[in-house]
Symmetry: C2
Subunit: 442 residues, 2 copies
Amino acid sequence: MSAAPHAVLPRIIVIGCGFGGLEAVRALARAPVDVTLLDRTNHHLFQPLLYQVATAGLAAPAISAPIRHVLRREMRGGRLTILQAEVVDIDVLARAVVLDDGARLPFDHLIVAAGAVNHWFGHDDWAAHAPGLKTLTDAFAIRARVVQAFERAERANDEVTRQAWMNFVVIGGGPTGVELAGTLIEIAHHTLPDEFRHIDSRRAHVVLLEGAEQVLSAFAPTLQTSARRQLEKLGVDVRTGQRVTAISADGVTMQSAGGEVTLLARTVLWAAGVAASPLAKTLAEATGLATDRAGRLPVLPDLSLAGHPHINVIGDMASATSAGKPVPGVSPAAKQMGRCVAANIVARIEGRATKAFHYADYGNLATIGRSSAIVQLEVPGLGLLRLSGLAAWVFWLFAHLYFLIGFRNRFFVMIEWAWSYLSFARSARVVAQPQKAASQRD
Amino acid sequence: MSAAPHAVLPRIIVIGCGFGGLEAVRALARAPVDVTLLDRTNHHLFQPLLYQVATAGLAAPAISAPIRHVLRREMRGGRLTILQAEVVDIDVLARAVVLDDGARLPFDHLIVAAGAVNHWFGHDDWAAHAPGLKTLTDAFAIRARVVQAFERAERANDEVTRQAWMNFVVIGGGPTGVELAGTLIEIAHHTLPDEFRHIDSRRAHVVLLEGAEQVLSAFAPTLQTSARRQLEKLGVDVRTGQRVTAISADGVTMQSAGGEVTLLARTVLWAAGVAASPLAKTLAEATGLATDRAGRLPVLPDLSLAGHPHINVIGDMASATSAGKPVPGVSPAAKQMGRCVAANIVARIEGRATKAFHYADYGNLATIGRSSAIVQLEVPGLGLLRLSGLAAWVFWLFAHLYFLIGFRNRFFVMIEWAWSYLSFARSARVVAQPQKAASQRD
């Protein structure tokens, strides 16, 4: 197909350069369309390894890359524009996106892939005491809290305060919560011992709280049990069936069948939930659609919005189903959706019918700590393959290295990991901005 | 010498874990003394490479390491305490240091090595428009400004605004200013081309302003001329004999023999001056001594304060002379002072006389950009050795790698450099926290 003159190319806007948006832009790069990619930040983030930045195992550049660098080959075609900008509104009727500086960008087709944000289920006051982990800024904030907690414990004047600084509570037993809890205990037991004079970092207490009866709800029951056993072997205090009722600067109160308990802890991390980007609500109000409990927009089988075939929603913002089952909020699903909507937009432009999204589920994996993980894989023709322990961890390691964006990062992450595996050191244990004296309560 | 029982060991407090403080602690580690090291941050910073973090060439952990990790061997003796704390006062008479939380730590001997801070020579309002480079936080702020400037240029609606975002002014022609200007032009000419659609990053204009008639005043005139020629060959607009009279969000106004000129530039970086930590003023008021123009305290030949033999001041806070010449504010001098005061304190404890500080000047080196540097070395018996260009750059590279703290950092910095030298990529071009829309003026 020969490209039409530039001025008349269909204009496509992609909001968000996460896994879904990036894949859509790549898939559209060779089509005769004019693409504008908008993102609030200048980088694509490999979110599955964000917990490593939060726990000082990796520097931020190891898991993030400038969007312009990632898409430098696609830029060469001359039909891709990348703007670092925040979208404040979407004018559904006029088909235009409104940016933070008031600029209006018209579109013929829109792909909304702005992802998810931290969500405290109506308890926004918990945010200050229990930070979540979605962005690099979140990761730096958590890193500062964890590193400073041990510093405060070293300076504490009494035993009660000292232990409160050495108690860590992670709320949420999904992959992020399990990874954070497993890494915190590794830091306390292996990285920090012998570096302090007044405290023994091995006396740190890491509690993982989960509302359901098992951690890692997306996995088969045998793997859930294995994950819990692996966590407990590392030293994590796993408590399931717990409903958090209050979070303050002093700790967490939770309710279970056994009654109400308060854990004193100066460091509480939130891994219990995310919700779709607020842009979903903006779109819902403009289209009359209703968002679900997680703030996501219902999409048609081809991932467009009912009554608005020019607007497509993918990734963590979309409540989609495939083969009658809800599509999970994981990166392979977002990437597959990105490719699907790119193909559907080209089909619409060419007057062909769109295709329904089909989620190819290749499995699921979660890491727990040093040499611990669980993996369940769909092997075509063979059924479900389950791994746990060291074999699962090695699989997880290579899978993550393989999917990291760009050669450089992959190579650097590999040697950083090799080094920290051998030395137990955590190379990024550096906090740029110390917390001010005003926040030092003891 | 056999150690006395723990309770009666002389108590030594070291304020600051820069090059001077770290060296002093290391030198005291085997002496029968009880040492407490205080620092506001949790890391030792290799400041000579801070400009690489500011210009996105290196991640912060590559040039900084947790103090506790750096001093883990010294901790094993059981006589070293490290506290992350800010010193707010020094009680000279009672011999105690007062911390931010009100705690008072008594000492028998004090080493004050709190270094230097950015200094705008009475124009504190310039700080907001022309950030300086002394800490990791400073480096992240400069990195964000530089990366965002090109993003803003790409979004600009008119040519004047676009070019204002692509004009960069570096104030101060010392080593830091030269490094920043050389690296900015390298980014514009080699890293960013082809990554934008509306701008040509090669049209960025980098101006280096210096008040004196030559850059790099610490070097021999022939090397100064060579440095200027190398900068201009890279594309830097070097303007000497310029006195800055105003800095605003829009640019810099300067006065020279040729009259007053205003450069329109949205990005202005300050490398024109530092002053001693404000603790010097605190000490001056308590001791009746007068600080010099750079806020430094005059010290006796043995680096103690006149009338206060138990208080020693080293590094960028000390106005010291050696062989009748002022000791420069460079890391080799700070390290040598650290070793000198450690030995002098042990001498005082043992009733021996202290020794005067003698600065061994091995030379000076400055890097300019890719394959460009100047080096002047004192070779005993041979006199002054001068290098410029590629040979000087290779020398600079290995000298800096050699002095980087800790094996890991050295190794990682080396491969990161090798990679970016070959690829022109700048791996750390990632800004965690995008600037808010409110600050986006166009």
